[in-house]
């Protein structure tokens, strides 16, 4: 394996995997599928999860949009979805996925259960980021006559931004793992490759390759997240 660096990959696979020299292209394509699923489901989960987080925070007791009933109902739903193991959610979501996408198999179809699983996670993650903000800042904005929307858009979100960006990396990394699980159920991406070739056909080499690619992807996402958050924080110093 160490021999990989600096050596023609096709020749490497031709030598070690016999006539499986199609593998590099397959790995590349599967990686692309994984990134595609992770990217889109992260985007969808933030699109829905962020507003949920804002409602969860601002509807709390004493906050700008206090509504304890809404807060409790929403909190319970979030907890309920979060308590489902992803593999179960994947199966339960099949009818819904079919209704949205038209099929429950393939990369695009995987985005639905991935997003469903990530939305409540994102809601809690962003909620935590928003709660870190000192109440004094909200009080100051209130004392200036800010509207609730102004407080959300000009105080809560910008102030929480570095923390929210780090949360995006955490979410995306979680989704890399989930996407592999979805791959086992025909979701495509590195999970499918590892399962059908690495596991079902005992092609251990392919299993290891997917593992390495996954590690690289996860490291890359974390690095990007740290960098983005660091840039925001450094600018403010």
């Amino acid at each position: 394996m160490l021999a990989i660096s600096g050596i023609d990959l096709a020749a490497f696979f031709a030598t070690y995997l016999g006539d499986y020299d199609w593998v590099p292209a397959a790995v590349l394509f599967a990686s692309w599928e994984t990134l595609y699923m992770v990217f889109l489901s992260t985007a969808v989960s933030y699109l829905v999860g962020m507003p949920l987080a804002i409602i969860l925070v601002t509807s709390e007791k004493g906050h700008i949009l206090e509504n304890l009933q809404l807060n409790q109902v929403l909190g319970s739903i979030v907890n309920a979805v979060r308590s489902l193991p992803f593999i179960i959610l994947l199966i339960l979501a099949i009818p819904f996925t079919r209704w949205v996408v038209g099929t429950s198999i393939g990369t695009v179809a995987s985005i639905v259960p991935l997003s469903l699983a990530a939305i409540p996670f994102v809601a809690r993650l962003v909620e935590t980021s928003l709660k870190e903000i000192d109440w004094g800042l909200i009080e100051a904005a209130l004392s200036m006559g800010a509207s609730n929307w102004q407080i959300i858009s000009k105080v809560l979100l910008p102030e929480a931004m570095p923390s929210v960006v780090l949360g995006v990396a955490i979410t995306a990394i979680n989704l890399v793992g989930y996407s592999a699980m979805a791959g086992v159920l025909g979701g495509g991406g590195l999970g499918t490759l590892a399962y059908y070739h690495g596991y079902m056909r005992y092609q251990t080499g392919i299993m290891w390759i997917t593992v390495i690619v996954l590690i690289v992807i996860v490291q890359g996402i974390q690095m990007l997240g740290d960098k983005a958050a660091g840039r925001i924080i450094n600018k403010r110093r």
Partner: protein, 345 residues
């Protein structure tokens, strides 16, 4: 400018009720710097937050510039709040914005056109002496500079009232003086009414025209700062004043023996003086006019705004009747006299 009547604030509900304010009434005049002093937990923080409805009173009314604050709907309240600036102990600046953008914030809220707002911000930064820090983020500023940004921000919408919530409590004494100086300048230049809360009597002494002393959720004393300093009417006021002006007489002096008969009677008195009388040689005229000797044992002189203020502990020696005449003379001159010790006590 601000009329507070029968203000009561109760937190929590029945079994765990906490009364933060009990039937507080106050009248704050236009253009004055009004101080509210109290220990932590006395209710001053709640009181100042009721003025702009950051806290809703349980009972009572608050009128600001003729408007009943409690009766406003949310839009009217937001408009009124734009005209009531507020500064805070921990500054509460947005870390996501530069100094310039922080001062711009209230103008964005009030939907002031961009160009006009930018001009206003520049003028305010000049007023507080931070023009060169416009593009810096708050994290790079010192505490005093942060509070200056806070003041500029509070003044952005030309408020009628400025509320100061322990604005100098997180600052060192020197910075505190410079911030108070800035507040006094603003008060004078703009005719702005300032309400400040503090637990530091130095702040009251240095900046305020009038003061209310709050203790255990009620106002125990209100009046001109000078009067309260020279004649504190309650133990709470007295202890606040003692915290900065030493009124305690050293024990050795109190232990001295005093004779209360004959030609060499002696009496220990404390003379408190404020304002003009402090500049006049009253003690020396007394000594000349009456056959008493005055022995100065102890004293403190301080400056209250621009007026000297202080107290002297004297031992008067002479015949009893002459001492009494001399005391009457001092009282007539407008000094406050306290006879501390007779012989043998």
């Amino acid at each position: 400018m601000i009329e507070i009547s029968n203000l009561t604030k109760i937190y929590g509900s029945d079994p765990q009720e906490v009364t933060a304010l009990k039937e507080v009434s106050l009248s704050i005049r236009k253009g004055e710097i009004f101080g509210i002093i109290g220990l932590s937990g006395a209710g001053k923080s709640t009181l100042i937050r009721c003025i702009n409805m950051l806290e809703r009173p349980t009972q009572g009314t608050i009128m600001v510039d003729g408007q009943d604050v409690g009766s406003l709907n949310s839009l009217e309240l937001r408009q009124l709040r734009q005209k009531i600036g507020m500064i805070f102990q921990h500054f509460n600046l947005l870390s996501s914005r530069t100094v310039f953008e922080n001062v711009m914030f209230p103008l964005e809220i009030a939907a002031v056109p961009k160009n006009e707002a930018a001009q206003k911000v520049n003028a305010l930064l000049e007023l507080v002496g931070l023009t060169d820090k416009a593009q810096v983020y708050p994290e790079q500023l010192s505490g005093g500079q942060k509070q200056r940004v806070g003041i500029a921000r509070a003044l952005a919408n030309d408020p009628k009232v400025l509320l100061s919530d322990e604005a100098t409590s997180a600052l060192d004494p020197q910075t505190t003086r410079s911030i108070l100086g800035l507040l006094k300048d603003i008060n004078r230049q703009l005719g702005l009414t300032i309400v400040l809360i503090t637990h530091d009597m130095n702040v009251i002494k240095d900046a305020c025209d009038r003061v209310a002393v709050i203790d255990d959720s009620t106002i125990v004393e209100v009046g001109d700062v000078l009067n309260i300093f020279s004649n504190p009417g309650t133990p709470t006021s007295r202890s606040f004043i003692n915290s900065i002006v030493n009124r305690e007489i050293p024990a050795e002096i109190l232990q001295r023996q005093f004779i209360d008969h004959g030609l060499n009677s002696s009496r220990l008195i404390r003379v408190s003086f404020i304002g003009a009388s402090a500049g006049e040689p009253i003690i020396s005229s007394m000594v000349q006019k009456y056959a008493v000797a005055a022995n100065i044992l102890y004293g403190n002189i301080d400056q209250l705004k621009d007026i000297p203020f202080g107290n002297l502990t004297l031992e008067l020696i002479g015949p009893v009747e002459t001492i009494n005449e001399a005391l009457d003379f001092l009282r007539k001159c407008g000094l406050e006299i306290e006879v501390i010790n007779h012989a043998g006590n």
